[in-house]
């Protein structure tokens, strides 16, 4: 489908610009975090990340070129394929870091759980869009719950607690915007909380350990607590202006584990200080704000729900990731979008941005 002139006019350069800016901040941080490994450029993390950016941008433009309504039409199909991939990854995924989250496709590690967030947004948007003028009873929550529960459990089994938990706010936000009865949703949330003890049983030992450590980091200062303590020292010692790029001692002295992936924000906080950390957070906020603005301006309920879901998804990823690096939340292992090293996460985020631009360009205005 060709884009017409109005589409081009609405093409959101600002959104794409901020995205690329955040990516650049990420590349600088990844460079600083991994320079000590002394890899050749062609095998460096920076190089691989730039490769992923190129792929991600191509997918972003493909996402834009087809109307989001097509994605809505195909949403159940996309969702089912994605769920099957999650099953497959459980069965034959490679074990890395004690978790089975990856496929290896032609040397690329592919993580279906990164995409299930988007598939869930599409399928739920489809559902609420179809119910536009019908009333919401308790029964109408059954299908969304099943749609949430299947990937939630599969992702939890991987085990990827962070991603599983992310699905929950996305689920609620789409149903809220989609018009579900707020009392019913509230009741469901309470039921969910009551079921936490059951949920606790499914967790792996190390996940339980991480949650316990959050409550008291001194339980395990040598293991799980170590990362939190070191990360806090890194960020805290950054102060107002930071120690300067590549000058973070916590970073350079190898005190931070997983610092180019989930804990990349510690490197930013240490090297760029409060100013840099705040600026980065603000850039994310601009993207999220933009997503909500697009949702507000869109009269079509399908598009509104998609934009809203993406906004909530990005917001929670960012806030949870930052909070865990400063010890405000348990370490659940989710990457910082656009900044953490990792191909699938980057590509999935760019796809989400693409969907956002798509909705913005094709929304039916009032």
């Amino acid at each position: 489908m060709m884009m017409n002139r109005r589409n081009f006019k609405d093409f959101d350069m600002m959104l794409i610009g901020i995205t690329l800016l955040l990516f650049t901040i990420g590349i600088l941080a990844v460079y600083s975090a991994t320079i000590a490994k002394g890899l050749n450029f062609s095998e460096s993390f920076v190089f691989k990340q730039i490769n992923s950016l190129v792929i991600g941008l191509i997918i972003l433009f493909i996402t834009i070129s087809v109307s989001y309504q097509r994605f809505i039409d195909l949403s159940y199909f996309i969702y089912i394929v994605n769920v099957l991939l999650l099953v497959l990854v459980l069965v034959l995924g490679q074990a890395r870091l004690g978790a089975q989250r990856w496929f290896s496709i032609g040397g690329f590690a592919f993580q279906p759980s990164e995409f299930i967030k988007l598939s869930l947004i599409l399928v739920l948007s489809n559902y609420v869009g179809n119910r536009k003028n019908s009333s919401w009873g308790f029964g109408s929550l059954i299908i969304p719950c099943i749609v949430l529960a299947i990937p939630f459990i599969l992702v939890l089994l991987q085990p990827d607690l962070g991603t599983a938990l992310l699905l929950v706010p996305v689920f609620f936000s789409i149903l809220i915007v989609g018009g579900a009865n707020l009392k019913h949703l509230g009741l469901m949330a309470i039921t969910g909380l009551a079921a936490l003890p059951v949920f606790w049983q499914i967790l792996r030992d190390y996940q339980k350990q991480r949650l316990l450590v959050f409550i008291n980091p001194n339980i395990d200062p040598l293991g799980a607590g170590y990362t939190i303590i070191q990360s806090k020292i890194a960020i805290g010692s950054g102060g107002l202006f930071g120690k300067g790029w590549q000058a973070g001692t916590q970073n350079r002295l190898n005190f931070l584990p997983e610092r180019h992936t989930d804990f990349i924000f510690s490197v930013i906080g240490e090297e760029w200080g409060f100013v840099g950390a705040l600026a980065t957070t603000f850039l994310y906020f601009l993207i999220v704000k933009r997503a909500f603005t697009i949702a507000n301006l869109t009269s079509d309920l399908y598009g509104k729900a998609i934009a809203n879901g993406i906004g909530v998804l990005l917001a929670f990823q960012v806030v949870i990731n930052i909070s865990m690096t400063i010890g405000l939340m348990p370490v659940v292992g989710i990457p910082l979008p656009l900044i953490s090293y990792g191909g699938t996460s980057l590509i999935a985020t760019l796809t989400a941005i693409g969907l956002l631009v798509n909705v913005e360009m094709r929304r039916s205005t009032f």
Partner: protein, 573 residues
């Protein structure tokens, strides 16, 4: 407005995250900045000791003891000359050693480095007193492995050595740290995950002078699990003693259960050598000795021609085929004509007419050439495999090898040639391509001792408080008549005054057995004896193997007798 609900909650989250950043980076900046500048979190590990290894009666064989190391963090040393003096005067290190160690430590200036390991307790206490106020230096206690009986049973226990960086990369998640020891062979390797303790530690905050200011947290160490073996200390110790300066192996198992009562291999090594840091020359000598191969467990990793002990298999194949009965006689004239070649019996003048009993008793080659040919190579191969040759016994020790039970298809595949009848003759007397381990010979003997039931050998019967379940006996479907005939032949070997294994006869113990004298390309013949006792209700199978040990009926049979006697002395038989 529903959208507002979502937007406002999300905005609140962002504000909270920013407040968190403000708190950590602005309000708490002085605190974290100091921590980071001083790099001032220290973890003092508390070692989770490795599990002990006990014999079947609970006697301690391998344990851990406390030892002292002097550990430095190079970039925190303020007074190097004083440290050097202390190391010289108190510990007694040489100037050159100290210089070399400091050089090494400087390449990892931020990581703790053990500059002196396993020093005496008195020295440690004196050092601790005199090093007061010395920055960057700590005295660490560690538990070190102690193999109480030194060389005895070393191949069963195995040894430990420090984890390498590559391994650490893979094993970090399992709780391994730098300088941790990891099992390299034997039980230490096989049961590593059970034996290993989990380190605990105290995390402390120190000031810029290196003094502890407060304890941030404590994690209790967890001890590794104890292994209770099936091995009997007395039997193991006599087995090791009897091997003496021989190269070879002794295996004793309980045929009814598969319990390994003793498993010795010589030349052996003292695993303590790998524990002490200052024995690197001795370590290298052990690891590099290609000729004596002291690190190799000959009982499970040594491959040898079985020689005449294999006649047990030949007998089974022939008797089961129905072509040979216990009443079938073949006459030995001292040699066997095959085509233009002549295959000799070990007795030049010949044994005269032989049946299964006298054939086994005299270990008459000509008798076995005859019945081996009647059975045929395919039957020999399938019975060899039935008795466990050419595959792992599955004993719970690492590095077991499976050997080779050859046959037509093997020869076609690996030698690109067809099977020759002459090779069947060699096969019948346990020569040729056949390669077996002593533990396999023990398992073969157990089948006969058990009247047709195979057993799987094992060394560990209990891990921590929980018994290990083992698969029981497995029938190999031999006719009762077959095992009875072979048992009677083996009885004659030991109890008949002309039996080849009569030296295995012990006063008051009814034993049965088979000798073997295996030719090999390396030189003098290998000597085998395998036997079991008591005859009616076997509770022990003993295999004695001596590399280049001459005749099986001489030394090995004598050693087996002493093991039977020791088993009775300790009340086992």
């Amino acid at each position: 407005m529903r959208e507002r609900l979502v937007t406002v909650s999300v905005s609140i989250l962002f504000v909270l995250a920013c407040l968190g950043l403000f708190y950590v980076q602005i309000l708490r900046y002085p605190y974290y900045s100091k921590l980071s500048q001083n790099n001032s979190i220290r973890i003092i590990p508390i070692n989770g000791p490795r599990g002990n290894i006990l014999d079947r009666n609970g006697k301690v064989l391998v344990t851990s003891r406390l030892s002292f190391d002097i550990v430095i963090v190079y970039n925190e040393l303020r007074d190097k000359p004083r440290l050097i003096n202390l190391l010289k005067d108190v510990v007694g290190m040489s100037g050159a050693d100290i210089a070399k160690s400091l050089e090494k430590a400087s390449s990892r200036a931020y990581a703790p480095f053990a500059i002196a390991e396993d020093i005496d307790k008195e020295k440690a206490i004196r050092f601790d007193e005199e090093s007061l106020g010395l920055n960057g230096v700590t005295l660490e206690t560690r538990s070190r492995r102690n193999y109480i009986y030194k060389n005895m049973g070393s191949h069963v226990f195995g040894y430990l050595s420090e984890i390498t960086e590559d391994e650490l990369e893979d094993l970090k998640d399992s709780g391994y740290r730098m300088r941790d020891l990891i099992g390299r062979s034997g039980l230490e390797k096989y049961y590593e995950s059970y034996l290993k303790g989990t380190d605990g530690g105290t995390q402390i905050e120190v000031d810029s002078m290196g003094r502890q200011t407060r304890v941030l947290g404590v994690k209790e160490p967890i001890c590794g699990k104890d292994l209770r073996l099936t091995v009997d200390l007395d039997l193991q110790s006599i087995a090791d003693k009897l091997l003496g300066s021989h190269a070879g192996a002794i295996v004793a198992i309980n045929p009814a259960t598969g319990e390994v009562l003793a498993l010795a291999s010589h030349p052996s090594f003292d695993p303590n050598v790998f524990v002490r840091p200052n024995n690197s020359n001795e370590r290298l000598r052990l690891l590099r000795d290609r000729k004596g191969r002291p690190m190799s467990n000959r009982a499970i990793s040594g491959l040898y021609a079985p020689g005449s002990v294999f006649k047990i298999v030949t007998s089974s194949a022939a008797l089961e085929s129905g072509r040979v009965k216990n009443s079938s006689y073949f006459t030995c004239t001292g040699s066997y004509k095959f085509g233009r070649r002549s295959f000799n019996c070990w007795k030049e003048e010949g044994h005269g007419p032989q049946n299964i009993y006298s054939g086994l008793m005299n270990s008459c080659n000509v008798y076995f050439y005859n019945i081996g040919r009647l059975a045929g190579v395919d039957a020999l191969e399938s019975y060899a495999k039935l008795f466990g040759y050419g595959k792992l016994t599955g004993i719970d020790l690492p590095d077991e090898v499976k050997g080779l039970a050859p046959g037509r298809s093997w020869k076609k595949l690996y030698r690109k040639d067809s099977w020759y009848e002459g090779e069947t003759l060699n096969y019948s007397i346990g020569q040729g391509y056949l390669m077996v381990t002593p533990i396999q010979v023990a398992c073969m003997t157990a089948v006969i001792a058990n009247k047709g039931m195979a057993t799987k050998p094992f060394v560990v019967k209990q891990i921590g408080p929980s018994p290990v379940t083992h698969e029981g006996l497995r029938s190999v479907s031999l006719r009762a008549q077959t095992t009875d005939d072979i048992r009677r032949g083996m009885y004659e070997v030991v109890n008949n005054e002309f039996g080849t294994g009569k030296r295995a006869k012990a006063e008051g113990i009814v034993a049965a057995g088979k000798t073997g004298t295996a030719q090999n390309p390396q030189g003098r013949t290998h000597a085998w004896f395998t036997g079991f006792a008591p005859f009616d209700d076997p509770r022990i199978c003993v295999v004695v193997f001596l590399e280049h040990g001459g005749k099986g009926g001489v030394e090995p049979a004598g050693i087996a007798r002493q093991i039977f006697e020791e088993a009775r002395r300790i009340g086992y038989l």
